[in-house]
Symmetry: C2
């Protein structure tokens, strides 16, 4: 037996017990003839004392940092207690020890504030995983999965495994493919999600399915993307959107309770996609703070139901606003005292290529009720006051105004809002605000191909009221520059995203379950009958044999964990992540394969010069 207790277990009530502990040497300190060692395992740290009598043995078997040590000894009360750790009241007086394994000096310190950089910690991930900070992340991850499984089990969901070696049906993201040795010339694909399989399970009558499952996308990796990632994947039959929203907001509330001990009892806010774009310029708004956008000017077809207030800024000879498609203002609370330097810096910030604005107009709403702006020569006090009122600005605020093309300006407004929210400390790490965004557009425009692509995926159903628009109109876009005026641009989907603190943590939809509508959808995306049959014949076939109404959702498990853990980086919540080139630098993968493997798979390299 290697141990009778763990290093996190012993307390004052255990004093005088004999014990055997095993763990890693965290620190070694010498005081006179005594040696003090902090022994660490998964459960905690316990202080060991080696008295003088063991010095000969210690000299013959010197200890070092991260050595694996087994000690026998007795539990004693500490004279100088350590209140920072649960075992801080006791120490072990060692009577004998065995070095189970030695360790080289680690390339970085195994501490929360380690001295190791990202690269070295990725290479020695097995050492990085020893750090308390990383362990807490993986523990949180396990707690989230455990909580999800318990809730879904109680709600009668069944965990059903779907296959990993499936079929390549690239639509949207790229597939990872796997050559088949037994079927030369043919390939499997790794699933981007179990989407079609979970829909087949609904057709099969398993009306509540879930899986916590790996998915794969061969995309160029941005900072926070991984080629393999995990989803909490769910699907339900005989449901409407409202059933799903309620089921899964209760899942998230349960996770908050189980994992963070937060009672998220209030109603989760809901917002249409259109409203989110209108007041936040963003389909995953961070609603922890206000600073909503004011649409002083916008193209009529983008928000057909909204009131035009452009008269507030028109009728003066200010060309920037006259010529802009869209003008958006934001009131920044309590910042009317911004200096020239500060407004210049903000102007530079919006002019960066990532934002791409040409400039920034400001209006200071002075505390005395007067206004001072960068466009004073164009706008009277009265006009400035009217703009300030429309922007919901108060005395003491500064209003920032952006102008330009619709999409770019709206995005800039959103980015500027988030940037200033961050600067002003309004995005608190320990505050959690959930939001449902509803009624997404069914289609998005793909400029390179001048065609429609599915905003969510090709299995998402249109709103019942919009089905006629879809059936009665030709999807072909005659005038690319005016695609937003095409009837398809306004078709809304039965789709919903769950947003947490400005991050999309989950998304789903009510699915198409009628063969004809699914075919119409595929056709709208530019798939002819033959391609439909080749790629999705099995699904269209299944829809002929009694497919029930159904819908579902998938949560990005890595991201959900990261946000709950107060981090922006999913990598910190994955045991063995890959770097931005898709490499695992620890195991040095991907790597070359043998000639025999090429031979058996009947493929060869075709490297470009």
């Amino acid at each position: 037996m290697f141990r009778t207790h763990t290093c996190g277990e012993l307390r004052l009530s255990d004093v005088n017990k004999t014990t055997t502990l095993s763990g890693w040497v965290q620190t070694i300190r010498k005081f006179g003839s005594m040696t003090f060692v902090d022994l660490r395992d998964r459960y905690g740290i316990t202080q060991l004392i080696f008295s003088e009598s063991l010095n000969d043995k210690l000299e013959a078997n010197p200890l070092g940092r991260e050595f694996v040590l087994q000690v026998k000894g007795s539990v004693n009360e500490r004279s100088n207690k350590n209140n920072n750790i649960p075992t801080g009241d006791i120490e072990i007086t060692v009577t004998d020890f065995i070095i189970l394994n030695k360790s080289l000096t680690p390339p970085f310190t195994i501490q929360d504030d380690t001295d190791g950089g990202d690269d070295i910690r990725m290479k020695y991930r097995f050492l990085d995983l020893r750090r308390q900070a990383v362990k807490k992340n993986l523990e949180l991850r396990y707690a989230v999965s455990r909580s999800s499984r318990n809730y879904l089990h109680e709600q009668n969901f069944m965990d059903i495994e779907t296959p990993f070696l499936i079929k390549s049906t690239p639509e949207g993201a790229r597939d990872f493919v796997v050559p088949s040795r037994m079927n030369p010339g043919q390939f499997y694909a790794l699933p981007q999600s179990p989407q079609t399989f979970k829909q087949l399970l609904m057709v099969s009558g398993y009306d509540r399915y879930y899986q916590i499952v790996k998915c794969f996308r061969d995309e160029d990796l941005r900072a926070d993307r991984q080629p393999e990632f995990t989803q909490i994947d769910c699907e339900m039959a005989f449901v409407e959107q409202e059933d799903i929203l309620q089921m899964f907001e209760n899942l998230i509330k349960r996770i908050f309770k189980d994992v963070k001990n937060i009672d998220y009892t209030h109603q989760i806010e809901r917002m249409t996609w259109e409203h989110a774009m209108w007041v936040y310029g963003n389909d995953k708004p961070d609603i922890r703070f206000g600073m909503q956008l004011c649409n002083l000017k916008f193209p009529a077809h983008t928000f057909p139901s909204q009131k035009d207030i452009s008269s507030l800024i028109s009728g003066v000879d200010f060309k920037v606003f006259e010529e802009a498609e869209t003008v958006i203002s934001i009131a920044i609370p309590g910042c009317c005292e911004y200096t020239r330097k500060q407004t210049d810096e903000l102007t530079e910030w919006v002019k960066r290529p990532q934002i791409g604005m040409k400039g920034l107009v400001y209006i200071k709403c002075n505390t005395d009720g007067t206004f001072k702006s960068s466009v004073d020569k164009f706008y009277t006090e009265d006009k400035l006051k009217a703009i300030a009122d429309a922007t919901n600005a108060r005395a003491g605020d500064i209003i920032l105004v952006l102008a330009g093309a619709e999409e770019k300006t709206r995005k800039a407004g959103s980015e500027l809002r988030l940037y200033l929210g961050q600067q002003l400390g309004l995005r608190k790490v320990d505050e959690f605000k959930l939001l449902w965004v509803l009624d997404f557009p069914l289609f998005e425009y793909a400029e390179e191909d001048n065609r429609w692509v599915a905003r969510h995926h090709p299995f998402t159903s249109p709103k019942p009221s919009d089905i006629e628009i879809m059936i009665n109109n030709n999807p072909v876009i005659d005038n690319p520059s005016e695609y937003l005026k095409h009837p398809y641009a306004n078709i809304k989907a039965n789709a919903y995203d769950m947003v947490l603190n400005g991050n999309e943590i989950g998304g789903g939809s009510i699915r198409i379950f009628q063969k004809e509508l699914q075919q119409k959808m595929f056709a709208a995306l530019g798939m002819d009958d033959q391609e439909q049959k080749h790629k999705f014949g099995f699904l269209l076939g299944a829809f002929e044999y009694g497919a029930p109404p159904h819908g579902g959702i998938a949560f990005g498990f890595d991201r959900l964990c990261a946000i709950l853990g107060g981090s922006e980086s999913i990598r910190d919540f994955i045991a063995f992540p890959k770097n931005n080139s898709g490499r695992d630098v620890m195991i040095d993968s991907p790597s070359s394969i043998d000639d025999k493997q090429f031979d058996e798979l009947q493929i060869k390299l075709d490297l470009k010069a």
Copy 2:
């Protein structure tokens, strides 16, 4: 809302309630002007009555088998109750209905005793999954996973996800590989198991890890193999073999209790590999019945500790036994009345190519104490009696004797025992007998390469007492025909298999955790330093930084479920299995990929003529 109740929910106590149900039309029967429909969903079947008033609507909207139907109605007591189903006391008097979706006539009946053959059911798997028989299998599978997770959670195990895109290190089975677009010319491999990653987690201090995880092996598929399969994968640090045996026999007992309501309270039997081979000819013996092998003759080096009793059969001029390396007898209880036809049939059975024996000797132990054998002219009654005593035969038994080369004859003895056990009804589907097989050989001989391969895997540790043999002997085999005499042939491993009813359901080992021993092991398997570094450098590196003693086990989840479900076929317990060519005939995968995909991956086909 699509339903207020499920089709398995309503009882007598619900009579007079109004209800809305949704489900599939199982059967339609007409009685006079009334229509009776059995409506089915995941939870059960409820009888519907459509009275005359709905006949017009039914005529305009005719129902068919597997149509998806929503009905509103009231719950009534049935006059002719159906005691076979929980809802058999009630029926729904339908007031209105909606056909949610139609169905073509299914290609086979959705019933336990379906008329569909294997191929058609695989192609229409989404319909096959509707059958109660298949649903029960998937429910059992979920129950096993749920039970395992609960037990392991209570025992402080953490579910930690390991990567799927790893590194190809073919040793034993073939890897599936995945070309990397971002790293042209390089490949990931899909894991055959998370073996090295779970060991790294032990090095990282996560002392109790588990995962229910997909694994991949690109092997030619035998009847009961799948290219992707699921393991319950576990690892523990600071443990000895006994800790692991106890932890995981309690896991299996818990599964028996939770899933089958079986109290498996008695001690799980344990047996060394040598003993299993000696008395069952097999390393995964079915101990539900006796009929142990008697080793009348065997090569001295194979079982060095066993007593030679070959004098019982020697000294007469029976060449078959004289020339045989091994002679094995089995007593078949109560079968001394076997006719000539029956013994001839058994002789033909052992002469089939799969068994490969040249013939069969029988000795009938008559109830009157006399003997009658096919070798009467060589053996006296006294000699026959001595053989019968050694075989533990009783009056009334028939003894069957096999003779030939050691490995083939032992295997034939095992096969014959299992065959006759089956014939005699001794292998009962509802009886479960667990067994630990211990002390496996560390190495196996690979004839094609004349070298050692790891019997379990290269990370399994030798018994401490055998480490010296390993270190002090050269692994090279000078004389291939006498490989069994090489010292490495007798090195025993700290390895263990859990066997259930003659099937290996799990296997594991205490691992090597010392770098030098791991290097010695790799070298014994024919890996030079460079290959070791290329394939397993990360593991050898990790062993330099304080690797703890550790060990683990992996259970074949698919097989465990199949046996618990009383089936020999794992395919029945997988939602979407592949056929023997590794094809998913439902989605038609694997399949061709686009030129664009070849181009991006920088590979091309190299098909053999």
